[in-house]
């Protein structure tokens, strides 16, 4: 017999678990099923127009240059974006952690503020900051004698341009996490290193880095997953252009699904995206386990 306390416990968890089952688990599983059909706008009108097509959606995706382009772009976003964002976060955290910094709480909040702003609104804003002819960024470049850059108009610079915006927006988040960890590093360690004659760089690599290595890894896993899910940035800033250079996997899924209503094929994209994120997470977890083993 179930005890009174256990009944109460089920009462507490049931609403949440039911919601998770209906609105999360079932859709995720059906996504896999949907990806095996050619569900499209005709099927939306009449289910009789839907065919079970096996793995055809996957086959077609793998031979679709735009899908590969989206994959390539997404990988580029992550490969460039993760180190850039984490580097910026770490640099800001290390500087802010210096004892001689005044008004630290103010800076902390200020650096973090872009993170909570509305992505769409700030993306619109950066669209203008990055404007080729009237943008503030090109004005800054040209006033120090550098050539103006066609940031969002040139396929070679569109990804870096969006990344500048993304780094501005998110670096404060990981900075706070690094800062919290750095504050747990005892000052004695730095003192000892200083007495041993270590310069700032040596202190960073010998004291700071080892202290934050586990966090660094965790943060990079989360960041990769985050960069794999870029959507609103290209949607607002470039609509995937120029020359599809900023079409990300999620953007591709959105267009396939909700612009052209090929829900079958879009589900296949979603599933591939999931596999990618899952694989990256597994690799990083394995690495972290090995690193963790080294430390003990």
């Amino acid at each position: 017999m179930i005890s009174r306390r256990e009944r109460a416990a089920w009462g507490f968890v049931a609403p949440s678990l039911i919601a998770i089952a209906i609105f999360f688990v079932i859709p995720v599983v059906s996504s896999l099923l949907l990806s095996l059909t050619d569900f499209d706008i005709y099927a939306l009108a009449d289910l009789g127009n839907m065919r079970f097509v096996g793995l055809q959606n996957y086959e077609r995706l793998l031979t679709n240059p735009l899908f590969w382009q989206a994959m390539k772009n997404t990988v580029w976003f992550s490969v460039l974006g993760v180190p850039l964002a984490i580097g910026a976060s770490l640099a800001a955290a290390v500087i802010l952690n210096a004892r001689t910094i005044k008004w630290r709480p103010v800076w902390r909040v200020m650096f973090f503020a872009p993170y909570v702003t509305t992505l769409v609104a700030t993306a619109v804003l950066w669209n203008y900051l990055l404007h080729t002819r009237y943008g503030v960024i090109n004005w800054a470049l040209t006033s120090v004698g550098l050539p103006a850059v066609d940031w969002l108009g040139n396929p070679d610079t569109s990804i870096p341009a969006i990344l500048i915006f993304v780094v501005w927006k998110i670096f404060g988040y990981n900075m706070l996490i690094f800062l919290a960890v750095l504050q747990t590093v005892p000052d004695d360690l730095y003192e000892a290193a200083r007495i041993d004659g270590a310069g700032p760089w040596a202190r960073f690599t010998n004291v700071t880095l080892p202290a934050i290595a586990p966090t660094l890894l965790l943060v990079s896993i989360i960041s990769v997953a985050g960069f794999f899910q870029l959507f609103a940035e290209p949607y607002v800033m470039t609509q995937g252009g120029p020359a599809q250079s900023t079409v990300t996997v999620l953007y591709f899924m959105y267009e396939e699904g909700f612009k052209w209503w090929n829900l079958g094929s879009a589900s296949a994209v979603a599933f591939i995206l999931f596999l990618c994120i899952f694989a990256v997470t597994m690799v990083q977890l394995a690495v972290s386990r090995r690193l963790g083993g080294d430390h003990t």
């Binding site: 706008i41 005709y42 009108a45 077609r60 066609d150």
Partner: protein
């Protein structure tokens, strides 16, 4: 300080939340795009005055999002009662059963129409939407720069036109170009493609025909305009203000439809006003063709207000109303009899459209068309960026079109599609 009007607007917005009021008034939701959405409210009061039980609520959509929004609304069962739709979307919306065909009592609306335009609205022999205004694209040009370059009229063949473009670019000076062909818009290349004698799709419109000799010629011409520095490699979003740039001479030829007449008149500075005009599209050997465009009025099957909706369509199709709307928007009336109205007939910018409409050539009526031309433009943009040769681009467009048409081939085999 936000004034009282703004505060009222805010409150009005909030109170709209309680839609579906039951006060005996039929609220017709009417979606319109761009220019038409801006100006439709000016002609609707007369309709509401004549039909006291009907109130029309206009919702504006940006053109770039309109097609997608209609499909989304169909999927979400939130279609309006009536909408302006692009002519080329009729087949698709009809295929999914969203449109209400013209009922018998409104048959007379199909009289007094341009046959080629009406044909694009007919699917399987039934009119699925009613032409509202017609348009076709032609060239807007800077006559002063053309004259300074030594041309006193718009050339009518591609070869001559290109010569003119080179001359204009020299006159306009460094950093400027001759023509604006936004690389994210398919209409320009499509117009070039229509100059050829071969159809764009083959085998009962179930396969692409973009490797045909005539389409390859169009691709080559399109590409050469970029290669020779006559057109900037830019998308529409990068030209922050078309009218300012046109006035500055950043480009002197601009592809657009009749809606731009109004914009040119209101947005160009006074000193440029005498120096622009409209002209027909050049062809390979003489005056060229272009696609019969325009918008139709669609009544959706899901609308519970069919009678009121058709009343609105009837009102907007009235030649007198269309003539008035032409004066406000520059839209060319769908009813030929409206063209006789003095204010329409006397507009010098409109005359070029007369000739261009006579040379209109229909595009294939398949639901996938919108997507095919989108893919065509994606490939074309890559071609001008140097990723494809003309030959490869034609083959690539064919490949993509064939893939998009696979379902259509299956549905035809199954007898599920017309």
């Amino acid at each position: 300080m936000i004034d009282r009007r703004a505060a009222l607007g805010l409150m009005a917005g909030a109170s709209l939340a309680g839609c579906g009021r039951n006060d005996g008034i039929t609220r017709l939701s009417f979606w319109a795009m761009g220019n038409e959405a801006t100006h439709a409210p000016q002609i609707l009061p007369a309709f509401e005055a004549a039909n006291p039980g009907i109130k029309v609520v206009v919702q504006p959509l940006p053109w770039t999002a309109a097609h997608q929004k209609l499909l989304t609304a169909y999927a979400g069962a939130s279609l309006p009662d009536v909408s302006q739709i692009g002519n080329t979307w009729v087949a698709e919306l009809a295929a999914i059963g969203a449109l209400s065909p013209t009922p018998a009592f409104a048959d007379d609306l199909l009289q007094d129409q341009f046959p080629a335009v009406l044909e694009t609205n007919r699917i399987g022999g039934r009119a699925m939407a009613t032409p509202w205004y017609v348009d076709t694209r032609l060239i807007y040009l800077r006559t002063d720069l053309l004259a300074r370059a030594g041309f006193d009229a718009m050339p009518v063949t591609w070869a001559e036109w290109k010569r003119a473009m080179h001359a204009v670019k020299r006159v306009a000076g460094d950093g400027n170009f001759a023509i604006l062909l936004p690389v994210n818009e398919f209409e320009q290349l499509l117009t070039f493609g229509l100059q050829g004698d071969q159809p764009l799709l083959r085998d009962e419109d179930t396969r692409g025909n973009f490797s045909s000799e005539s389409f390859r010629a169009a691709l080559a011409f399109y590409k050469s305009l970029f290669d020779e520095g006559l057109a900037p490699l830019a998308s529409a979003a990068q030209i922050s203000n078309v009218w300012t740039e046109f006035a500055r001479g950043y480009f002197s030829f601009y592809f657009s439809g009749p809606w731009t007449i109004g914009d040119m008149k209101s947005r160009l500075p006074a000193e440029i006003q005498p120096h622009w005009t409209t002209a027909g599209v050049p062809g390979t050997t003489g005056p060229g063709a272009s696609a019969p465009g325009g918008s139709s009025l669609a009544v959706f099957r899901s609308s519970p207000h069919q009678d009121a909706a058709w009343k609105l369509v009837r009102y907007l199709s009235d030649p007198a109303v269309q003539a008035r709307f032409n004066v406000i928007t520059g839209d060319l009336p769908a009813r030929p009899s409206a063209w006789a109205a003095p204010k329409v007939a006397s507009d010098p910018y409109v005359t070029a459209f007369n000739g261009q409409l006579a040379r209109a050539r229909a595009v294939p009526k398949v639901p996938e068309w919108e997507r095919i031309v989108t893919e065509m433009q994606i490939v074309a943009e890559r071609m001008v960026r140097g990723e494809f040769t003309v030959q490869q681009a034609g083959a690539e467009i064919d490949r993509r079109a064939d893939r998009l048409l696979e379902k259509r081939r299956w549905m035809i085999e199954q007898g599920r599609a017309a």
